[in-house]
């Protein structure tokens, strides 16, 4: 276990893109089975934070530990790390040249080395769970956005990850498709999946999160249980952000 005791622990994480500092000294602990929601304006560093956790980005300073293993610095087996961390993106990023079931089977078959039969069974179970087994042989382009995103989620789940990172996964969806995706995330939360979720869906965050982190200009300005952040935010920036969100009718 890490010194901080969290399943995921960020300690003083700083990330720069050229001149721009995207994350500045971020500390964050995520315990097993916790759901942590990152909120904040676009460009506040939510996505970058998620991408640092599975090493899609390298940090410039600070350390990150996942499941007791330090994943920043050299000599980290990134493939092994990513096998236990699932990530889902805003733009789905399904593989357009593969059928739905092949999308879900690919990583278990190639990265985990499961047999085709095993990966197929696993993929069919997962697709059945989200009610898309009848779409198994379709290509992603033929599915609705909500269906595609649910496939992207089970594609990540097919690796039996210990941690899921969700990067604004409903932001590219039509409003009427958002709920089918969020319902799936709720089920995941209920099943005890550890998750870090960057989101603009405040009601969802309020209902599902064990902890809310408000990011502003690369800094976690405030973190705490949802009741605290949404009802009595201490920081003036958090208050401003939330009142803008309320004006926009998203809470």
């Amino acid at each position: 276990m890490s010194v901080n005791g969290g399943f995921v622990a960020l300690d003083g994480v700083t990330k720069r893109f050229g001149e721009v500092t995207v994350l500045q000294g971020v500390d964050l602990d995520v315990d097993l089975h916790q759901v942590v929601c990152l909120i904040g304006a676009s460009g506040s560093g939510k996505s970058t934070l998620l991408r640092c956790v599975n090493r899609l980005e390298r940090v410039d300073a600070g350390t990150i530990t996942v499941d007791g293993q330090t994943i920043t610095g050299d000599g980290v087996d990134v493939n092994a790390l990513r096998r236990k961390i699932g990530i889902v993106f805003q733009a789905f990023n399904l593989f357009p040249h593969m059928s739905v079931i092949d999308n879900v089977m690919l990583a278990p078959a190639k990265a985990l080395g499961l047999s085709r039969a095993e990966s197929r069974t696993r993929a069919r179970e997962l697709l059945d769970r989200i009610g898309l087994l009848d779409k198994a042989q379709e290509f992603p382009d033929r599915l609705s956005g909500g269906q595609q995103q649910r496939v992207a989620i089970v594609r990540a789940l097919a690796m039996s990850p210990k941690l899921m990172l969700l990067d604004e996964i409903t932001s590219a969806l039509d409003p009427q498709l958002v709920s089918e995706v969020l319902n799936l995330v709720r089920e995941l939360a209920d099943s005890g999946m550890t998750m870090i979720i960057a989101t603009h869906e405040m009601s969802f965050a309020r209902e599902c999160a064990s902890k809310i982190c408000f990011l502003d200009a690369g800094v976690i300005l405030e973190q705490g249980p949802p009741e605290e952040i949404f009802i009595a935010p201490k920081n003036v920036r958090t208050r401003e952000f939330l009142s803008r969100v309320i004006e926009a009718g998203r809470l």
């Binding site: 990134v78 990513r82 593989f95 990583a107 290509f139 033929r142």
Partner: protein, 235 residues
């Protein structure tokens, strides 16, 4: 007009030249099929090498770039001469003792691999980085990502330009006649020398055209089938 028709389109000469030119054209077909298969493989290899990340791969990338720059810029006729006349004069084991046919294959492959490498590379670069990212974030290695996610998409996209280069290659098999290989153009030349008539060239031209058209339709068809299967349909 009558003279023109007689020189190029005389029915008698066309009929008479046909078997002789066909005899030569079979060599063109063999040249193109073998060269195309080799080009497909080598060009993919070089394109992948050019895309290798990291400083360790720098020398390899350099070699790949030098190769494509050089052979894309060199006329095929020059390469054919250098290979077919130069290599035998070196009196080296194996490489100096090949048939003209083999040298023809080598020249075509050297030049067209350089073109097709660039075609593949454009295809590889056209696959959106988010696709690589998605694959890598699932735990697939660099090679697995390339093999299962990037290349399948890249190759599909470059089929039309690839076909274009292959039609170029098919026609350029005629250039290989300069090294003394008896293919369709050479046979047409022999015919014109023997009968003072150019219908042999007409026949050779027809053979080349007739070969490329079904090839093009076949590829169009593959692309269309795939669209039907994979893309959302307008209703």
């Amino acid at each position: 007009m009558g003279k023109f028709l007689h020189a190029y389109l005389s029915p008698l000469d066309i009929r008479r030249a046909m078997p002789q030119v066909w005899d030569g054209f079979q060599t063109n077909i063999k040249l193109m099929v073998i060269a195309e298969l080799l080009v497909l493989v080598f060009a993919l290899l070089i394109a992948v090498v050019r895309g290798l990340p990291g400083r360790a791969a720098l020398p390899l990338r350099g070699v790949a770039i030098a190769y494509t720059d050089f052979f894309r810029g060199t006329p095929l006729i020059l390469v054919a001469f250098v290979v077919a006349l130069g290599l035998p004069s070196l009196r080296l084991a194996v490489i100096s003792n090949q048939s003209l046919f083999t040298y023809g294959i080598v020249a075509l492959t050297l030049v067209y691999t350089a073109y097709v490498t660039e075609v593949y590379r454009a295809g590889i670069e056209s696959v959106h980085p988010s696709q690589r990212m998605a694959a890598r974030s699932l735990g697939l290695s660099y090679t697995q990502t390339l093999r299962h996610v990037v290349l399948p998409q890249a190759i599909r996209r470059v089929i039309p330009p690839l076909l274009n280069d292959f039609i170029g290659l098919q026609k350029d098999t005629a250039i290989i006649s300069v090294i003394g290989l008896t293919e369709a153009t050479a046979q047409a030349g022999f015919y014109s020398n023997d009968y003072f008539n150019y219908a042999g060239y007409t026949v050779a031209a027809i053979f080349f055209v007739v070969l490329t058209i079904p090839f093009a339709r076949f590829t169009d068809n593959i692309i269309k089938q795939r669209e039907l299967r994979e893309r959302a349909q307008l209703v």
